[in-house]
Amino acid sequence: MRDWKWIDNLPKSWAFLLRVVVKALLLFGLCNLIFAWLYPMQFLGNLSLYGTLFPARDRLPFYDGNDPSQSNSISLNNLPALFASHDVSQSKPGDEFRVLLIGDSNTWGWYLDNDETLSAQLNHADLTVNGRDVVFYNLGYPVMSLTKDLLILDYAMQYDPDMIIWLVSLASFPPEEQLVPPLVRNNQARLSPLIEQYNLNINPEDEAFVQPDFWQRTIVGQRRELADLLRLQTYGIGWSATGIDQFIPENIPLRQSDFETDYSWSIYPESVELSENELAFDVLSAGIQIAGDTPIIIVNEPMFISDGQNSDIRFNSFYPIWAYEQYRDLLSQTSIDNGWQYLDLWDSIAPQEFTDSPVHLTAHGTEELANRLINTIFENEE
């Protein structure tokens, strides 16, 4: 066989074999040590074939729990890699008015194709502001935590936004939810300066943060993360061939409409009086400060309002009425007190437009939400 003639030329002695093994082990050990010392994970995250070999993604990659080869996607905790695969990282044309949408799975478009998401529906309107084309970017990420939103917003500021629309819901506000998303827990180095600068009510040394020690920073220690970086690139082929980045089942399960006699919310089994301190308004405030001169609009996103069993106690499976009404009052009052631009769209979409969760919309519901946003935010801008 012509493939293997070269093996015949190798010295066939134990000394040769030992030399090869020892050299290989030394080289491997050295590479690991250098890697741990440099720890170039963030740099490697910036290396991307998206936008060059493959079209950039319309939304941040997220693993939806199905076979990754069906969704051509993967979840990563490497922010540079997430953004390097996204359309927002492409250079901004001079005539573009760039609007970033920050939020949870509602903004990301759970069970929606890319041309049905909120950003896509907004882009369908072909808006202009002062002669510049308004382009909306989907920076939603399907986890509910304002701190996760803050991380994304902080990173996204380098892409020169002209406006930010931050869609929030009560489930993103509990302090105990802030460090739950892996994306937050694995980005302590990025979050710590923000915690310090904006005096956030988060312990920068919280045990929830993943802080790799020296050995975990080696190639061996980071093998999973390195493989994921590679996988994100390989899924680019499937993404470019199919335009699919999420597996959408034929039959989407419907959100719950009837409830037990249940007053609980977050850590509270019964109704209590909420104050700003029980909700992560400090994170919201930090985001608005990070945006600086860039206009930022806080939107209380629509939710499913049930008329089923015990709907006098709960709006939906997420929220009892007592908690949600206090939250709305607090958000409204805080916005007025701080001069934030705030839009409350909590009941703006009909119940039948919600799919599997109280905040996931159908394509039609998303279109309605887009129209509401356009009419409210952009009516005077054109």
């Binding site: 066939k12 134990w14 069906q70 590679l230 061939a241």
Partner: protein, 477 residues
Amino acid sequence: MGLSLSTIAVFVVIAIVYAAIIPAKWRGWFLFIASILFVYWLQADIFVRWLDFFLPTLSLIITVTSWYLTRSSEQRISPQDKIALLIISGFIVSLALLRFVPADYRILIASRPPPIQFVIGLLAIFAVFAWLTGKFKWRYSLFLIFILAIFAILKTDAFAVQTAQWLRTWTGQDVSQASAIDLNWIGFSYLAFRLMHTVRDRQSGLLPELSLQEYVTYVLFFPAFISGPIDRAERFLQDFQALSEKIIFSERFVEGFTRISVGIFKKFVIADTLAQGMSLNAINAAQIENSGGAWILLYGYALRLFFDFSGYSDIAIGIGVLFGIKLPENFDQPYMRASITKFWQSWHITLSNWVRFYVFSPLSRYLLKRKPKPPSILIVLITQSATMIAIGLWHGGTINFLIWGIWHGLGLFIHKQWTDRTRAFYRQLKDKPRQQLLADGVAWFITFHFVVLGWVWFALPDLDTALIMFAKLFGLS
């Protein structure tokens, strides 16, 4: 269980032990026992109760039966054969007794073995079968039909599901959960090839005399048990009988480790990376939106298939070398070939050779001897199509594998007609290097894309998906 990295590591460790402490005269017995052990160890867990014990046991029993039937009339059962038989039976019964051992201590088997009476019953049935058919005139044909029947059941979904339902009824399990995966008989495809080779060679008088120890080790040799290559008994025997000779282990280890390392890189780095969304499958075939994407995924599949399978072969050959058995090569730069005939001489070589020996040649001889003799062109068409259809159906009893076989059969036929008619033209190109290069380039391009397009049938599960994929590839969808 497939050939995972941990399995390879176990094989390598055993090879080091083998080289370090096994005396030369015991090497054959070591490989014999190791091959029996790994038949069980490599068998994956199966949902149908006891089947992950019965299937490897059947592999062993069928192999012993096959040895009994394929002995030459002069070959007596020697004391060594009796020892080998005792080891196999003792081993099966010992494993069955693990039924009474707590699960944590149950080694080699995937789940709790069946009651001992079932195992002894199975052994008795085959002993009676072998004894009854041993002198029967049609014993070889009967045995081949038996092997082919199992093959048909395993490779045809409808039969496999029906068998699984029957087995689930017998074990009192939920019949509605029956599926073809229930009959995941590890290694049977290659086991069947080796058994059929020995039976056919016994019929034609070509098979050398093999002891039970040699025969079982040849058929079940663990590096090649799951995915080949398909060795020939007479070639294997040469290496096996030389195991007790003085050898320089360093030579073997340099060669073996090199092959294993290259194989691991091909399989676990290149092929497994290509499997991560970079190659065609039934799901993305339905999702593809553009022709360019379709081609990229198809190229990805073609490369993945090559690196996966040739990587496996390299690993198997490398492990074989560590133990002193030089398994035959299976791939020789197949995608660099400039004709479909040469492609099949360099892709899955041992399978191509097997089918040439046992399908193509006998069929050709039969047609040539017929009176009146069919036209030559018809003989070529029939033999080449039948050969490739056999290869296709070996992969599975589906319409797509059948079409894939026909695709290559027709490709070989057309190529034969083309070369017969253009021989003079190509001969005069030898003096014109540029034109020769151009002709070779065009031939390579056509061959490569013929093979790659053929993979559409191979990769996709049904006719409709394959046709839609072709439409997408050529921008017709």
